[in-house]
Amino acid sequence: MTTRAEFMARIRAELGKTRGLPPATPARRPARPRVEAEAIRAELAERWPEALERFRHELEKVGGVFYRVATLAEVVPVVAGIARERAARRLVSWHAAELGGDLGPALTAQGLEPVAMPPGEVASAAERQRLRELVAAAELGLTGVDLAIAETGTLVLSSGAGRPRSTSLLPPYHIALFDRTALVESLAQAGVFLELWHADGAPGPRGAVISFITGPSRTADIELTLTRGVHGPKEVHAIFVEAPIRG
């Protein structure tokens, strides 16, 4: 088997043979990501309505559904409505601390069966298995959002304690809540936040995975016929909450 040393030595040897190549530089990186991220937020404090409108437009183009409500409490009837129309009841959600509020009792009152994910490490393998089966059997997945990219209608979700990857993946209907603070205009701006989250070797924001989600799961692998919901959700609903979700 090739060792790291041998492998890298061969690469260095080959690189040593290249001479006189035109100079090339990679992308410009934010020198101070925190400052740049704050600058983006500050700009968006004024421009957010345009960005939100663009987000709505792009999300709808990729087959997502957009809603706008005033407060977190108003999310409940929207979720209940989505569930009712699809004859769905079983809902799994991020932990209340990650979601920004506990919607459980209100959703239960609307006839749903919500289960919130635990906030931290689940030590027992059996319990982990039970939760996984619960998520796999759920019809609705309710999550928060770390970034909403207007340019592409994309939701960015990082995984972590209380925010399992599967909640936005296994149930056929994904419902995501976000507020103004998550909104960015472009992929380039999203890049500044990715740099910020990893700055100085930090291990990402929370868990090991960051997912960019741009509309419902799709394929065109059979005779180029567009079909939704092949592995991931077949519907993506994004609910914008006017009042900041987290203080």
Binding site: M1, T2, T3, R4, E6, F7, M8, R10, I11, R12, L15, K17, T18, L21, A24, P26, A27, R29, E58, V62, M117, E121, R128, L131, R132, A136, T152, S159, P164, R165, S166, L169, L187, G191, L194, E195, H198, P203, G204, G207, A208, V209, I210, S211, F212, I213, T214, S217, R218, T219, A220, D221, I222, E223, L224, T225, G229, V230, H231, G232
Partner: protein, 472 residues
Amino acid sequence: MSQADLSIPFRRRAGRAMEDAFLQEALTIATTKFIGLRREAFDAFPEGEGLRDRAREIKEATLQHLDRYLEQLIGNVERFGGRVHFATTAAEARAVILEIGRRAGARMAVKSKSMATEEIHLNEALEEAGIVPVETDLGEYIIQLAHERPSHIIAPAIHKTKGQIADLFGKELKRTVPADPEALTQLARGELREKFLQADLGITGANFAVADTGTVVLVTNEGNGRMVTSLPRVHVAVMGVEKVVPSMSDLMVFLAILAKSATGQKLSVYTTLVQGPRRAGELEGPEEFHLVLLDNGRVDQLAGPLREALYCLRCGACLNVCPVYRQIGGHAYGHTYPGPIGILLTAMLNGPASVKELAHASSLCGACADACPVRIDIPRMLIELRRQVDEKRIAPWIERVVFESFGWLLARPLLYGLAGRIARVLQRPFVRDGAIRSLPLFGDWTRTRDLPAVASRTFRERWNELERETPR
């Protein structure tokens, strides 16, 4: 038509593909659609052209310091609890992955679409080792059921009808299934969902890997990439060394052009950034994360004539615009990577002799270079491969004699003129109305096209007279 038999000459393989009526229709529809979608995407994205230049430069900058970026990537993957493996050859890559599977006691591996694992012929090896490989990208799943190979880099099953797919699914599930894309997709969802939940091993490729953070990036539309990296206990990512990018800022440049080039989407549905195994507090995610760095002919090209092919993002745009691909589809090429870029990658993997026919499977029209998001000059490298085939005396001797004599003649204008006059005499019995319908030795031209006759007086022969003419 399944994978082509390489003992058959390429011209015959291409001919068979052109006789396949369904394939012909499917190719025309698919490539025309992809071309249109790509064009619309870039028309609506004025900054796209500039970003393509940037992306190209980033690839070049990365290759120039590949050692540094790979060391950085390796260090970061290990820092987050992942393991990195080094494979110089395809066989070595297979052995590494099988060993990981064996240690994990894996019985089944779910796979997310990956050309790198196609390239190393991983599935056969897994099967032999008693690990059932399950392709989970719908298109790959279809061709796996059919025991074929992908015919397009991003649309592996475009050569199959829904009827054929319904038959395949019916055989697998042992019942009749409707030939309806929606119903077939839902069936596959149900079947594969079970496998995701059962499998011990998840195998993916990598569209990118970010050196600065140790992140492997997967781009999919179906969500299978997320499944494969979240549900099985072990995740193995296989990636060519050239896929590393320096930072998240670089990644964003590529993301902005990749999907637009491939399918015309602004972004694919899922871009999944994976930084090692499950973190504390996470409900799911693999306990083990392995990154297999693959050379398999790539490193030789860092200073080689095919260096620029290392920029390739595997978007498939060059296939869609290639007039040859559009007539013959992917299988006729006979290798893992079809189309114009595929010829270069095949040469990279297997040496120039392996493409002595394929190097000529291009009219050098340049549409590929034009469509390539990172502007890889594919025609130039095809010519270079032809040169190597010629120089290493791999080309048939008769061809070499013809071209070398032609070259000799072109340097001797008097003899050249004489040759023209001889041709004029020889062609006489065949000329009708200034053109030739059929000519011995020239059947490959005249079967479908008239050949213009050598003019009764060539331009050189008319010049003296023309020189004396006064302007009208």
